[in-house]
């Protein structure tokens, strides 16, 4: 999945670095706690968060994130955008909540950063 696919699936607006939307996203991580991102996210991850301060950009840079999606209609300050342009990190914004954003991307095949295998879907759940 590319960042441009992410943009389409989430009906997201591009805030900066739109020239990099052909970038491949290999996993995703949804969270509002930066230390959790640093602990569990993998390189190439798409970071989805409701936080918009400059620490999100620093965190994304440190984990080599493919890009950041701001959820819940949150918009970063011009300072955060300037920093992200400097670091070359694409920023998107969607009005969807975190759960819905993650769920939509998951349903399109984008997996998270869990290190354990996902349990098999129980039969009764698939037989609906």
């Amino acid at each position: 999945m590319t960042l441009d696919d992410v943009r389409r699936y989430l009906g997201a607006e591009v805030i900066c670095c739109g020239e990099k939307l052909d970038r491949e996203v290999t996993s995703a991580f949804g969270c509002d706690l930066m230390s959790d991102v640093l602990a569990f996210a993998r390189p190439g991850t798409l970071l989805l968060t409701g936080l918009t301060n400059s620490q999100v950009i620093h965190t994304a840079e440190l984990i080599d994130a493919a890009g950041v999606v701001f959820v819940r209609g949150k918009h970063p300050s011009s300072e955060t955008i300037r920093l992200s342009i400097e670091k070359g990190i694409p920023l998107l914004a969607t009005r969807l909540l975190l759960y819905d954003s993650c769920g939509l991307l998951f349903s399109k095949g984008l997996r998270g950063c869990s290190t354990v295998d996902l349990p098999e879907t129980p039969r009764e759940a698939t037989a609906i």
């Binding site: 640093l38 968060t49 400059s54 620490q55 950009i57 620093h58 840079e61 440190l62 670091k87």
Partner: protein, 143 residues
């Protein structure tokens, strides 16, 4: 490359510049061609150390020494110190107040993250004085 020394002054509650030191550490390590896994672990440890000084201390410094086969990070602050280091090392333990949590910190994962990234970590702290966290990161070659 023989040896590179970096030193940063880190001010308490300076959220405008917080993260810049770790970013410089990452770029320097990439520039000297350090392997990716070491760059990643060292810059995450540097960031957690930097943020702990910003959030929990009255201010301090972070010194980073880069050698071909080793990165050392020494974060020192002037107080208030950590009362119970074992407790502080536990995942989920945090004294960060609500307004700090709203900024995305206070998961109580910073010190455990540093430990996970480090090949060696030493914390010295005395209440009323200050804290020094020393982290060593080496390439983890398969034996």
């Amino acid at each position: 490359m023989t040896r590179i020394d970096l030193e940063f002054t880190i001010d308490a509650l300076d959220f405008v510049h917080a993260g810049e030191a770790a970013s410089r550490v990452k770029r320097t390590l990439e520039h000297v061609g350090m392997e990716r896994e070491v760059v990643r672990r060292a810059s995450i440890a540097a960031y957690e150390a930097e943020m702990n000084i910003v959030i929990h201390s009255v201010g301090g410094t972070m010194k980073v020494t880069i050698l071909p086969d080793c990165v050392e990070i020494v974060a020192t602050d002037r107080g208030p110190g950590i009362e119970d280091i074992d407790l502080a090392m536990q995942e989920g333990y945090s004294t960060a107040p609500p307004h700090i949590r709203e900024m995305g910190f206070g998961a109580g994962m910073g010190l455990p993250n540093m430990k996970r990234c480090a090949d060696d970590i030493r914390i010295e702290s005395a209440p009323g004085r200050g804290t020094t966290v020393r982290v060593i990161i080496r390439p983890r070659h398969a034996a």
